[in-house]
Symmetry: C2
């Protein structure tokens, strides 16, 4: 079985002109003062076209080497390439490495301009007045490199997982291992483990509370949560990449709030949010290229590598950009899906091997998949399920006939995933409409979260750090 690996003429010309335009913009940044934000946008364009072409070209090589799968939700189940997220991740890493000189260019100018103290002073003055604020102080280089190391580690481990099918209980820890480079450099380089305390708690904890080593535990847990929660909200065409794109765009929007001409400037958090943009713009580039191949009807699968990688990009971004609490707001749908899945994940309720929606070949629509309870459930669990049913948070089927014990017994229920819940709410629908609905939910919750964060922050903190 082989898949089409060539680009159409239109695609070739579009990608080529996009790449050329981006290269021209890049060359232009070298003429002027090397604006890194413009360069980052140009690099994202190059990242998009390279990923797009590589995903197409490498399809057959991946299939030949056993990275392949069948799409269970299609009438015609052909084999398509799997683990294509690894290609995106490699392109992303490469682009981020080549990008390094732009944000750190200032130091080069200082170092090569003759070395006079006057030059350095002048530069420093410009930094003070905000003129060069988009160029990073040099010590941020280590933090940028540690982010790259963590992301490269998660790609290595993700590929290992896609190759060897690591067991769940080990898999869950992969992001924690990948976070280690970032945490260690954080430890060596900054060591700031203080958190701003919400106003109501200040009488007890003070304005700043030093979490100490617990701060590192918090960062590791955030990585585990971010990477795994995206990996759990998965299984239909486009959902893994789609949700990651929505989250990335929302963070970029949040970053832009701090960098807009209307924000107080120079704002103390400007650096952090530029840092965040430099990590996210190329991510949006490669993810878009992947989504165009993974959207219904999917021509490639993304693989666990992509989910881990995307989650880790967010975790690294939130931690090193110092907005980890905002990040959690944007991951609320994932958090809900995790809590909602917990009864099955921890085997309080039987968990079938696959919990994907069921494909109805006759209608061509996806229906919510169900778990059958062959043995009666424990009474408290059965009652809890019935309560969830009444709250429209589950679709439970009970035994109407029978007598005594058998009467009202819970026979089956919809599977405990957000995707199935969506189908319980809105009925069977085509795969792309299901994905669109969930992405709209993600976007809606995210926008609401950001609104609450910026408008309501004053209620629990003395000031918004906007």
């Amino acid at each position: 079985m082989s898949t089409s690996t060539s680009l159409t003429t239109t695609e070739v010309y579009s990608l080529l002109s996009l790449s050329l335009a981006c290269v021209a913009i890049l060359a232009n940044t070298l003429q002027g003062d090397g604006n890194p934000l413009i360069a980052s946008i140009a690099f994202s364009g190059i990242a998009f076209s390279s990923s797009y072409a590589l995903i197409r070209w490498l399809g057959n090589a991946f299939i030949r080497r056993g990275f392949k799968g069948r799409d269970m939700s299609k009438t015609k189940q052909t084999e398509i390439p799997e683990t294509m997220g690894a290609v995106c991740a490699m392109v992303y890493l490469f682009v981020l490495i080549v990008f390094i000189p732009w944000p750190f260019y200032k130091d080069i100018v200082v170092a090569t301009s003759g070395g006079g103290n006057r030059d350095v002073m002048q530069e420093l003055e410009l930094v003070e007045t905000g003129r060069f604020l988009h160029r990073f102080p040099h010590n941020k280089l280590a933090s940028y490199l540690s982010a790259l190391l963590s992301l490269q580690t998660i790609v290595l481990l993700g590929i290992g997982d896609d190759l060897f099918d690591i067991r769940w209980r080990h898999k869950v820890l992969i992001p924690a291992i990948a976070a280690i480079p970032m945490l260690i450099v954080y430890f060596v380089d900054f060591g700031v483990t203080k958190m701003v305390v919400p106003t109501p708690l200040r009488p007890y904890l003070g304005a700043l509370f030093d979490l100490g080593w617990l701060y590192y535990v918090y960062m590791a847990l955030l990585s585990i949560f971010s990477a795994n929660s995206i990996n759990i909200l998965a299984g239909i065409n486009g959902i893994e990449v789609g949700q990651s794109l929505v989250i990335a765009v929302l963070i970029v929007f949040n970053d832009a709030l701090y960098l807009s001409p209307f924000a107080p400037y120079p704002h103390p958090a400007t650096d952090s949010h530029l840092f965040s943009l430099y990590l996210l713009l190329p991510f949006i580039g490669v993810s878009l290229a992947l989504l165009m191949h993974n959207w219904f009807p999917a021509r490639v699968f993304v693989g666990d590598t992509y989910c881990y990688f995307a989650g880790m990009v967010f975790a690294v971004d939130g931690i090193l950009g110092h907005f980890s609490k905002t990040l959690i707001l944007l991951l609320l749908p994932q958090a809900f899906n995790f809590v909602y899945s917990a009864p099955q994940l921890f085997h309080l309720v039987p968990c079938p091997r696959h919990r994907l929606p069921r494909f109805n070949a006759r209608t061509g629509l996806l229906e919510c998949s169900r778990v059958e309870f062959d043995r009666p459930l424990a009474r408290p669990i059965a009652e809890a399920l019935k309560l969830l049913h009444r709250l429209r948070l589950l679709d439970v089927e009970t035994h109407d006939g029978g007598e005594g014990e058998e009467k009202g017994r819970v026979v089956s229920s919809s599977n405990f995933t957000l995707i199935n819940l969506w189908l319980v709410w809105f009925g069977p629908m085509r795969e792309d409409r299901l994905a669109l609905g969930l992405l709209a939910l993600q976007a809606g919750v995210g926008v609401l979260g950001l609104f609450v964060r910026h408008r309501m922050a004053l209620l629990i903190f003395t000031q918004d750090n906007w």
Copy 2:
């Protein structure tokens, strides 16, 4: 086909006691002033035992996923795991990441000791007098991280190569791509592109010659040469890991010369050579574990990943440790093998698909493999081969009978590799004696090279930087 994946009781106890001893040493460095050199040795012990155990445990998983091969030089050709160097490389990278706080611990002490200027001054004084010279100035962190990034990149690309069998002409460039993170950080961080000029050339070039961008080309070429030349001198049990170990030990010996109590202290190059040790000691740890599985009769193969990885460790070490010319001296056998192979690699002379020595199943010995010339060679090439034969640098067979054109025609010759040349010189021998002979050659040439470098350097440079 499956391979034994469990450790014997003796192995378990040995590895456990080694690990425990190393952990105890590590804990001890935390009590005192955190001596990073001691910590590095302890980490190398841990790296050894982890690699040893993992190589054994993961064998079957690798075979199942298609990473396997048959040993052509054995009577009984069972399938054994391939690409096991990737396991070593992962352990190595992990150890190097966890090690970060030790050499950069000084800054933590400064940062957490109350922040008084006096403390900082005192520390700086200690640095000046050499007391803390084994702790790095903070700006070395970026260079250490860039080394890690380059090594991680080569592992990623090496695994890609072992998975997808990339074509030769692309493969050759893998180390150049992997060198990019290191080169970019070098560019951003130091930008020193000057070379010390040998005395005879000083009237023309001055004492220091600025190579400019050519210096980056030089570093990229060194990476390509180092990684590929080890990949070419390969094919018999233990030779890839063995030569890497010999080279690593020689570099460690050279580093020790700069750090010994007899060296002028504090020596300006101390930092660089400590840096080199921190990269090499764990490398020796993981390589030793691999060699014990890959030595005759091999129970695992190392894969291209290992060769690239080892070559890249040396390149990174030589470049960031500022002793790239010394490194080239230690790679002389590899350089000879490359030049000697060139006629076949560039198809001046026919090149069979495999140039491994031929296994004689009757005697159990390896014999030099030969290439048959079905068509007559061009006259100058035939004459050159005959000359090499007279110089004992090749074993050429000529057609004794016949007349005219046919008389004296070159019919076959030994293949153009150092391994075959060794068999031409010393006759058929068992695989392990062949490997031992080549390793002795590597060690001898290396020791001689280091002697020349330190004793004779004054003839071409005004001073040895020892």
